[in-house]
Symmetry: C2
């Protein structure tokens, strides 16, 4: 017997309340019982996105919401700005390319946050830019960008701010209305503590004006069709009913905890993780770490993939390795979603034993001690 | 206390085996445990589609698979043929229109099957036609078209046959390879006995040749990206893991029962339903009823919506009403998926009591008697 722990940056652990909701008898999506659930879900999503506008829901992975954000706001030949500092920033560019949208890239060295001044300068240089695509929390590098300042910059121009908040929503503050984020795209299997299969887009009034003029082709991810339906408490296409039943549960958990507490918890767990790994003599990969996931450089002479594999096979713990050119160079420990104090203790403890087993000089308990000094905040 | 029965044509009832699979701890989609599940799912889907080619899996509703079938095989300005005899046939045309594909429509009077001779004539008249879009089982009218003969006609030409098999797959014979169906698009919440949220496309070698030349834009529903990943036992985007865990269960149920038995069961249940409603003096709406769902004309003087509402509120039974211009004119009883003998007895019995309550002259038990005469086949 080996207990299993999921500490990869998506899917993240699903609370039993949500798992059991999915084992309830399936509901018909035109039934009153479903509409009651969807009504609560709509309310909970507005709370989570901190918006007064409707949050659109799609049966898809988060990439579907990203595609929706592109095809519903733009027209062929439009020029946009894409900030790329990792695999998910690159995805914005790939979607634009697939749909014939011209994009100027602001390439950020991986592990660094986006520089709002560069975005401001680019928008000044070319007032024809229709939208700015950014990644709030770049999961591939464990980096958080300053979305608030970026939003201040973009909101002063006619351009839309379209943000991937996939691993920041429900993890750190993303006040969509207050910051003036025009489209925020998210998925279910991160801070929302659900299995993958749902995606979300908030859409500002400024974005809706662009939607009305957009000429890119779309059908499944059609914002206008979803808006017409959501106003009737329905969905354009058959919704993923069981996932929505589970979503009601996790939104309730988030509302019970309160957004400020949710964000403080993630901040505490992330700081504890960083304290733990640095106490072991390891180096953080990111210059601006996200509270969603900690990216750690593999120590010299040890392959990051070996750390990931040992944790999985000998300790039952699933973390993530590096992607693209970071393969083998970093490993990533997630602390987002349904995660608390002793998940971090487990992660750091397992890392100590794994590194010791792989021949890296470790003082057992040193990382845990450093993590505990952070974790006990507010508990003593 | 009122027990609930789901008898609408999707979502259909989900067996407890599948419901409980979704309540298991979530798996990471790069883990060996997931790959074992996905490997079994791939095998089961090939069995169900009766194909030796890979069946692509999407996290979306069935409409996503339909969009995928269009955008992956065609190029802007291509001419295609769309057979429309109901709401879902119309959807093929709407997707083509959204993506700038020229389509010639063959409009079939609702409730009638497609005429293969008209398709043959159209293909002869215009050899530039690149694809023929048909609906095997038209859920909105309860009508089954002769897909085998249509496939014979289309396969003799360079055009692709692209079929919506959403409510025929797992219900009646759809031997994709033997009949030469180039793309068969399906969803999870029908014969596959799952919640909504998964969609499927089989793709023939002839279709893959068109995919290689296709110039319509696509990103989330990209067949080529899925093919590259499925060959590595993976998915292009994060898959809907919990639904795939449930899919393994329902595919196992289908394989245990055997395709021939699955189809015979649906045929028996459909004939029993038709016998039951006609014994009550009601008229079938379709000239070629599908074994998935029986569409029944509301008797003169009684609104179909009233029948649906009474069944739901007084009897706990969810059936479907008519869509578009059939609203109030018909009602539809599903017998697809996780359905057996006594579900039909329940449906006909409830219909007798409902009609009697609404003032329609009914001899109580007469419909059930007629249904039983069919249902007892092979049981005496």
């Amino acid at each position: 017997m080996m207990k299993r722990y999921l500490m990869a940056p998506g899917p993240t652990p699903v609370p039993v309340e949500a798992l059991l909701a999915m084992s309830k008898p399936i509901l018909h999506h035109r039934a009153a019982e479903y509409e009651q659930i969807f009504s609560e879900v709509r309310q909970g999503l507005k709370f989570l996105f901190q918006t007064s506008t409707e949050v659109l829901v799609f049966a898809s992975s988060g990439t579907g919401a990203m595609e929706g954000a592109v095809v519903n706001t733009l027209s062929p030949g439009d020029k946009v700005l894409v900030v790329r500092g990792g695999k998910f920033g690159e995805r914005w560019g790939e979607i634009c390319q697939a749909y014939g949208v011209n994009f100027e890239a602001i390439d950020v060295e991986w592990g660094n946050p986006a520089d709002p001044a560069l975005i401001e300068a680019a928008l000044k240089r070319d007032p024809s830019i229709k939208a700015v695509f950014v990644t709030h929390s770049e999961t591939s590098t464990g980096t958080l960008s300053d979305l608030k300042t970026i939003a201040e910059v973009v909101s002063r121009t006619p351009a839309l701010l379209i943000a991937d908040v996939v691993t920041s929503l429900g993890v750190t503050d993303v006040p969509v209305d207050a910051w003036k984020i025009d489209v925020a795209a998210a998925g279910s299997q991160k801070g929302l503590m659900l299995p993958p299969g749902l995606a979300f887009c908030s859409v500002s009034d400024k974005a809706w004006e662009m939607v009305a003029k957009s000429k890119l082709p779309k059908f499944y991810f059609n914002f206008t069709a979803e808006k017409q339906n959501i106003e009737k408490n329905q969905n354009a296409w058959t919704p993923a009913v069981s996932l929505l039943m589970a979503l009601r549960e996790t939104l309730a958990l988030i509302q019970q905890e309160g957004l400020a507490n949710v964000f403080a918890r993630h901040d505490r767990l992330a700081r504890a993780t960083r304290a733990g790994v640095t106490a072991l003599g390891l180096e953080l990969y990111s210059k601006a770490p996200t509270p969603a996931v900690t990216a750690v450089k593999a120590p010299a002479g040890i392959d990051g993939g070996q750390i990931v594999k040992t944790l999985r096979t000998k300790h039952g713990i699933t973390i993530a390795g590096g992607q693209s050119h970071l393969k083998g160079k970093i490993f990533r420990i997630s602390h987002m979603g349904y995660v608390d104090t002793y998940d971090i203790v487990t992660a750091i403890s397992a890392l100590e034993m794994t590194l010791a087993g792989l021949g890296y000089p470790v003082e057992l308990g040193k990382g845990v001690r450093a993590a505990e000094a952070v974790l006990m905040e507010g508990k003593a």
